[in-house]
């Protein structure tokens, strides 16, 4: 009886070895999707400041550690802080999920944060790690840690290759080309923006050139991501008061073609508003951007 049982186990193991691998990989992909879903749902709950959902998606003994909080924060402390914390987050690479065990996962990514905590600016370039655990069949976050990276965590030497001026075509969703721009990525993170519609196109009042800051990160696969923000001023007209325009760029650099592609989101604010406060950024209008570097004649 004992021998039979051993043989049965051996047979099962052989069957697993023969057929189990593809299934195991498929299973892993599904688990990773579940982990990402739980993490994204938690981000959305924080955005909505939905305390019930936040509690449901975090372990009761959850801890968050960031450079802007005053030390490690438990769930209750985190729920008490949203009113003092204003930030928008742009993930600079795809989240990497590693299954550490059957019921534990590590999720990491780099991000750019724009915002303030208790009125003070928070470190913009960060590395985020999340430890998630599966409890009663549901994935929830147990630990969240943010580390501010030195010099943006980027390999500046490779990002220097992006410096230059690009001629772009800008398209509003479901529309043709709405304008063309010159975008200059300069040293010291300076970005300059000039648009063909500055004189006042249909639906837009006249506006000035934009200036701002750009950052670049290099993904593990060598791709360069550019995130940038520019500000400009809109002119007073008979129908509109003067204002401030903010453009948030999320672009990818194609090294082989020396091109930029991605999106720019335009926010229009009253002149006395704070354009650097993420809470003020509402009703953004998104444009798709493609551009190529202007080369010098040899």
């Amino acid at each position: 009886m004992k021998i039979m049982r051993s043989r049965a186990i051996l047979f099962s193991l052989v069957m697993l070895a023969a057929t189990g691998m593809p299934e195991a990989k498929a299973g892993e992909a599904e688990i990773i999707a579940e982990v990402n879903k739980a993490a994204e749902a938690l981000d959305e709950a924080f955005e909505r400041q939905d305390a019930d959902a936040i509690k449901q998606l975090m372990a009761p003994d959850h801890l968050a550690v960031t450079p802007y909080y005053d030390g490690p924060q438990n769930v209750a402390e985190q729920l008490a802080t949203p009113a003092e914390l204003h930030y928008s987050q742009t993930n600079l690479d795809e989240a990497a999920v590693t299954l550490l065990g059957p019921d534990a996962a590590l999720r990491t990514f780099r991000a750019r944060l724009d915002g303030t905590f208790k009125g003070k600016p928070i470190a913009p370039n960060v590395y985020v790690s999340q430890l998630l655990v599966k409890r009663d069949g549901a994935w929830m976050e147990r630990f969240y840690q943010v580390t501010a990276l030195a010099d943006g965590g980027k390999k500046s030497s490779s990002c220097n290759g992006l410096v230059g001026t690009y001629l772009t075509e800008n398209r509003a969703k479901e529309a043709g080309v709405t304008s063309r721009s010159l975008i200059s990525l300069a040293g010291a993170h300076l970005i300059l923006f000039t648009d063909s519609g500055e004189g006042g196109e249909a639906g837009f009042v006249p506006f000035t050139d934009g200036r701002g800051t750009w950052f670049c990160t290099e993904n593990a696969d060598g791709a360069h991501k550019v995130s940038a923000t520019t500000l400009d001023f809109t002119a007073a007209t008979a129908d509109a008061k003067p204002g401030i325009g903010r453009l948030d760029f999320d672009l990818t650099y194609g090294a082989g073609t020396e091109t930029l592609s991605g999106t720019a989101t335009l926010y229009l604010l009253p002149l006395d508003a704070d354009p650097l406060d993420p809470a003020m950024l509402k009703d953004g209008r998104q444009f798709e951007i493609t551009g190529r570097r202007i080369g010098a004649r040899s």
Binding site: G101, S129, L131, K154
Partner: protein
């Protein structure tokens, strides 16, 4: 007079009574093994013992600190060893939580002393060491430091 069956039952009850402390001891043993592995890795870094460092870290280990230029692989860290002077004094006791039977989160607050590329390290930091048990041994998978306000 006790029958043999009754005696056995009493023995089983006695064993059952003795199990909780035993289980507790097993957790304590696990936590001790995790702490021992972490301490051994710290010592290996202090000695710049590359072979031991590699043995006590997973191949896909990542280190993230405010002073490195982004996340570092095992090879990156070993290459940077000559430029790092690292000393830490742990404030209080490290906390070790078993997230799963083979996954542990070890955290503590530390006062750091030293420099990287000549620049001083942040004075106070929160340290996360995530360890996994592979082939019966606890090894580190992630080391992450976040600067705390002094």
């Amino acid at each position: 007079m006790l029958t043999r069956a009754a005696f056995l039952s009493l023995m089983l009850v006695a064993v059952a009574w003795s199990l909780p402390p035993k289980a507790h001891a097993t957790d304590a043993d696990t936590i001790a093994a995790i702490n021992a592995s972490s301490n051994a890795l710290d010592e290996a870094f202090a000695r710049r013992d590359v072979e031991t460092i590699r043995r006590l870290m997973t191949k896909d280990h990542v280190t993230v600190t405010p002073y490195y230029d982004g996340p570092q692989s095992v090879d990156d860290q070993i290459a940077l060893l000559p430029e790092l002077e690292y000393g830490q004094t742990i404030v209080g006791e490290p906390s070790v939580v078993l997230l799963a039977p083979d996954v542990a989160l070890r955290t503590f607050i530390a006062d750091l002393k030293g420099s990287f590329k000549g620049k001083p390290l942040p004075s106070r930091a929160f340290v996360n060491e995530t360890l996994v048990k592979r082939d019966g041994k606890w090894i580190e998978r992630l080391f992450q430091i976040t600067t705390l306000k002094p």
